[in-house]
C-alpha cells in the first residue's frame, strides 16, 4: 500500500512495525546488542539500579495517594500510611528501603566503572550521564527525606539549604529563595514535594534513557577493558567475543534480581530501620523549629561527603593552602603543561591558596563537599593509565584503590558520629586522601609497571 514501509514482520506486529520501530528498537537494544561474554558479578548492578528505579516510582505513586504535603499534616499522614492504610506500611518500607538500596547499588555500579576503566574513551558520555543520574539521585533523596516532616527531616533540610548561604555575596538571599521562608517551613515542604514527585523523576528518567543510548552506541566495556569490536568478527560482522544481550544477559540478570530481592525483602520485613541507618530514630519525632535534636546526621549515603564538609576548619585551610602552593610549584617546575597554561594553572592555584585563607572556612567546607562529587565528572580526563582495567595495572594501584575504598567507608562512618577532636582529625586526613586520590590521579595513574593486555577478552566456559 502506498506510503507503508516494507517490514519483515507480519500480522499485528507487522502492522505496528510499519508505523513504529518496535522490532527495530528491540533488536538494537536487546536481541542484537552484543555485549562482551566475560561479564562478572559486578555487571549486575546496572540492571538492578533500573529495577530499584521502578520500585521507587511504583511505590512512590501509591504513597502520594495518602501523603499530605502540609506542615501541619505531613507527619501524621505518614503515620496514617504506616498504621491505617491497608498494606501502607509495606509500601512505605519498600520506598524507604528502596532509597538506601538505590545508593548501595549505584555506589557498587560506580565502583565497577572505576575498577575496569569503563569511563575511558569513548565512554566519557556514558560516565557523565551516569554522574548526572547520581546527582539527581542525591537531590531526589534529600528532598524526599524532608517529606515525613520529622526532626531529622527538618534539621537536615535546614543544614543543607544553609549550605548555599556560605556562597559569598549572594548566599543568604539564595538560601532564602530556596526555602521560600526565613526558616524551613510549609512553603519549603511543598516545593520539595513538587521536585521529589515530578521534576526530578522526569529528569532522572530522561537521563537513564540517555545513559543507555550512549552505552549502546559505544558498546559495553568488560572486566578486561579490551574492545570486543577490535577483536575477530564472524561472517555477518558481529564480534565473536560478544553475545546478544537478550536472551543471554537478560536471563543472567534475573539471577541478580532474585538475589537482590532476597536481600531487599529481608530488610523490608525484618530490619526496615536498619538500626537507625535507613530510617533515623530522631525522625519519629515531629519537626520542631525551635529545638535541634542533640545529634543530627544525614542518612548514611550522604555521610562521606558530609564528613568532608565538617572537616574544613579555619586551621585546616592552612593545610589546604599549603597543598595548593605545593601543587603550583610542582606544576610550574615539573608539570607537562604547555605554553601559557604552564603559568596560568599555577597562578590559579596560588590565588586559590590565598582565597583559602581569606574566605570563611564555612565556604570551603561547602566547596569540599560539592567538589568531592563534582570531581568524579572529570574522571575520564584524570585517569592517564595506559590500560583500562585494574587487572593489568601495577599491584600497588590495587592498594591505592583499597585505601580509597576504606577512606570512603571511614568518612561515611565518621559522618554518622557526633563531632569530636579525634574524629575531626580523622575526617581531615580522609578528606586529603579522597581529594588527593583524584587530583593526583593524572600523576600516579601512569606510574608503575603495567601488565601486558591480552588481544582478546579472557573467558573460560563453566
Amino acid at each position: 500500500m502506498a506510503g507503508e514501509k516494507t517490514v519483515e514482520t507480519t500480522g499485528l506486529l507487522g502492522w505496528i512495525d510499519r508505523r513504529f520501530p518496535a522490532s527495530k528498537l528491540f533488536k538494537e537494544h536487546m536481541s542484537e546488542y552484543y555485549a562482551p561474554k566475560n561479564f562478572n558479578f559486578w555487571y549486575f548492578f546496572g540492571s538492578l539500579a533500573l529495577l530499584v528505579l521502578v520500585i521507587q516510582i511504583v511505590t512512590g505513586i501509591f504513597l502520594v495517594m495518602n501523603y499530605k504535603p502540609d506542615g501541619n499534616l505531613a507527619f501524621d499522614s505518614v503515620e496514617f500510611i504506616m498504621r491505617e492504610v491497608p498494606w501502607g506500611w509495606l509500601i512505605r518500607y519498600m520506598h524507604s528501603t528502596g532509597a538506601s538500596m538505590f545508593f548501595v547499588v549505584v555506589y557498587l555500579h560506580m565502583l565497577r566503572g572505576l575498577f575496569y576503566g569503563s569511563y575511558r574513551k569513548p565512554r566519557e558520555l556514558v560516565w557523565i550521564f551516569g554522574m548526572a543520574i547520581f546527582l539527581c539521585l542525591m537531590g531526589e533523596a534529600f528532598m524526599g527525606y524532608l517529606l515525613p516532616w520529622g526532626q531529622m527531616s527538618y534539621w537536615g533540610a535546614q543544614v543543607i539549604v544553609n549550605l548555599f548561604s556560605a556562597i559569598p555575596f549572594i548566599g543568604p538571599e539564595l538560601s532564602l529563595w530556596i526555602r521560600g521562608d526565613y526558616v524551613v517551613s510549609d512553603a519549603t515542604l511543598n516545593r520539595f514535594f513538587a521536585f521529589h514527585v515530578i521534576a526530578i523523576p522526569l529528569v532522572l528518567i530522561g537521563l537513564v534513557v540517555a545513559h543507555i543510548i550512549a552505552l549502546h552506541e559505544v558498546g559495553s566495556n568488560n572486566p578486561d577493558g579490551v574492545e570486543i569490536k577490535d577483536g575477530p568478527k564472524d561472517s555477518k560482522g558481529r564480534p565473536i567475543d560478544g553475545i546478544p544481550f537478550h536472551p543471554f544477559y537478560s536471563v543472567h540478570d534475573l539471577v541478580g534480581v532474585a538475589g537482590f530481592l532476597i536481600v531487599f525483602a529481608a530488610i523490608v520485613f525484618f530490619a526496615p530501620e536498619m538500626g537507625g541507618y535507613f530510617l533515623e530514630f530522631n525522625n519519629f519525632i515531629p519537626a520542631d523549629s525551635l529545638k535541634t535534636p542533640p545529634h543530627i546526621a544525614p542518612v548514611w549515603y550522604f555521610t562521606p561527603f558530609y564528613s568532608m564538609l565538617r572537616a574544613i576548619t579555619a586551621d585546616f585551610t592552612w593545610v589546604l593552602a599549603a597543598a595548593a602552593v605545593l601543587g603550583a610549584v610542582a606544576m610550574f617546575l615539573r608539570g607537562n603543561l604547555r605554553g601559557i597554561w604552564r603559568i596560568v594553572v599555577p597562578v590559579i592555584l596560588l590565588v586559590v591558596a590565598v582565597l583559602l585563607r581569606v574566605i570563611d572556612a564555612k565556604f570551603w567546607g561547602v566547596v569540599a563537599m560539592g567538589g568531592s562529587v563534582v570531581i568524579l565528572f572529570f574522571l575520564p580526563w584524570l585517569d592517564h593509565s595506559p590500560v583500562r582495567s585494574i587487572r593489568y595495572r601495577p599491584t600497588w594501584h590495587k592498594y591505592l584503590y583499597g585505601i580509597f575504598i576504606v577512606t570512603f567507608l571511614v568518612l561515611g562512618y565518621l559522618g554518622t558520629q557526633p563531632p569530636s577532636p579525634v574524629f575531626n582529625l580523622m575526617s581531615q586526613i580522609g578528606t586529603l586522601i579522597y581529594l588527593g586520590f583524584f587530583l593526583l590521579m593524572p600523576v600516579w595513574s601512569r606510574l608503575g609497571t603495567f601488565k601486558p593486555v591480552p588481544e582478546r577478552i579472557t573467558f573460560s566456559a563453566h
Binding site: S289, R310, P418
Partner: protein, 219 residues
C-alpha cells in the same frame, strides 16, 4: 521570492523547479531567522521571571514577622527562655553576676570577642556582653554555621558530647561549634560568626522585652 538554496518542496509535481534555482541568495532570511530567535528567546527568558519569582517568600511569610513580648520577671537568674520570632528560636538568658564577671576571661579563646565583624550584631550590642543590659542576653538561637539550634549547656564542666574544658555556653550538636554566654563563637570552630542578636527594646519600666523592634519601635 528568493532563498539560500533550493529546497525539496520547491520541486513541483511535474518535476520542474517551482522557484528558479538561479535566484541570488537572500541575506534578509538569515536576518529574520536570527531576529525571530532573539525575540523568541527574550520572551522565553521573560516567561521564567514569574516562575523564578514565585520561589521567594510569600507575602504572608514576609508579614509573619510581628514583634514578640517577653515578661522578664518570669525568668529567674541563671535561667533561660526560648520564644519564637519569625519562626526562629530566640533566647532570653538572665545571666548571674558571676556569669557576667567571667565573660572577659573568654576573650583570648574567641574568634571575634568585640563583635567587629559586620552583620549579626547591632550597634547597641557591640560590647563585651553583646546586650543592652549585661543581665539579659537576647540572641537568635540559630548557629551561624548551617542553621542548627545550639543546645544551652549553661554550667561549666564536662558533659556528654561536650569538650572536656567546657566553660559554659551553647554547643551546636550538628558540627560542634561552641559559643560563650554572650553568644560569641570560640576560635577554630565551623561557625564563622557570633550568634545573631535581634533588634529588641526594654519597656520603660524594665519588666518586659520586645523582640523584633528597634529603638524607634519599628518592627
Amino acid at each position: 521570492m528568493s532563498q539560500d538554496k533550493s529546497q525539496f518542496d520547491d520541486v513541483s509535481a511535474d518535476g520542474t523547479m517551482a522557484i528558479d534555482a538561479n535566484l541570488p541568495p537572500d541575506p534578509s532570511r538569515r536576518f529574520w531567522v536570527a531576529t525571530a530567535c532573539a525575540v523568541g528567546g527574550a520572551a522565553g527568558v521573560a516567561t521564567a521571571v514569574p516562575f523564578v519569582g514565585s520561589f521567594a517568600p510569600s507575602a504572608r511569610a514576609r508579614a509573619a514577622g510581628a514583634p514578640v513580648q517577653v515578661d522578664l520577671s518570669s525568668i529567674p537568674e541563671g535561667q533561660m527562655r526560648t520564644v519564637e520570632w519569625r519562626g526562629k528560636p530566640v533566647w532570653v538568658l538572665h545571666r548571674t553576676q558571676q556569669q557576667i564577671d567571667e565573660l572577659p576571661n573568654n576573650d583570648p579563646f574567641l574568634a571575634d570577642p568585640q563583635s567587629e565583624r559586620p552583620g549579626f550584631t547591632p550597634e547597641f550590642a557591640r560590647n563585651e556582653y553583646r546586650s543592652r543590659d549585661p543581665k539579659f542576653f537576647v540572641a537568635v538561637g540559630i548557629c551561624t554555621h548551617l542553621g542548627c539550634s545550639p543546645t544551652p549547656h549553661l554550667a561549666a564542666g564536662p558533659g556528654p558530647g561536650l569538650p572536656a574544658d567546657w566553660e559554659g555556653g551553647f554547643f551546636c550538636p550538628c558540627h560542634g561549634s561552641a559559643f560563650d554566654l554572650a553568644g560569641r563563637v570560640y576560635k577554630n570552630k565551623p561557625a564563622p560568626d557570633n550568634l545573631e542578636v535581634p533588634p529588641y527594646e526594654f519597656s520603660a519600666d524594665g519588666t518586659h522585652v520586645t523582640i523584633g523592634v528597634d529603638e524607634n519601635n519599628k518592627a
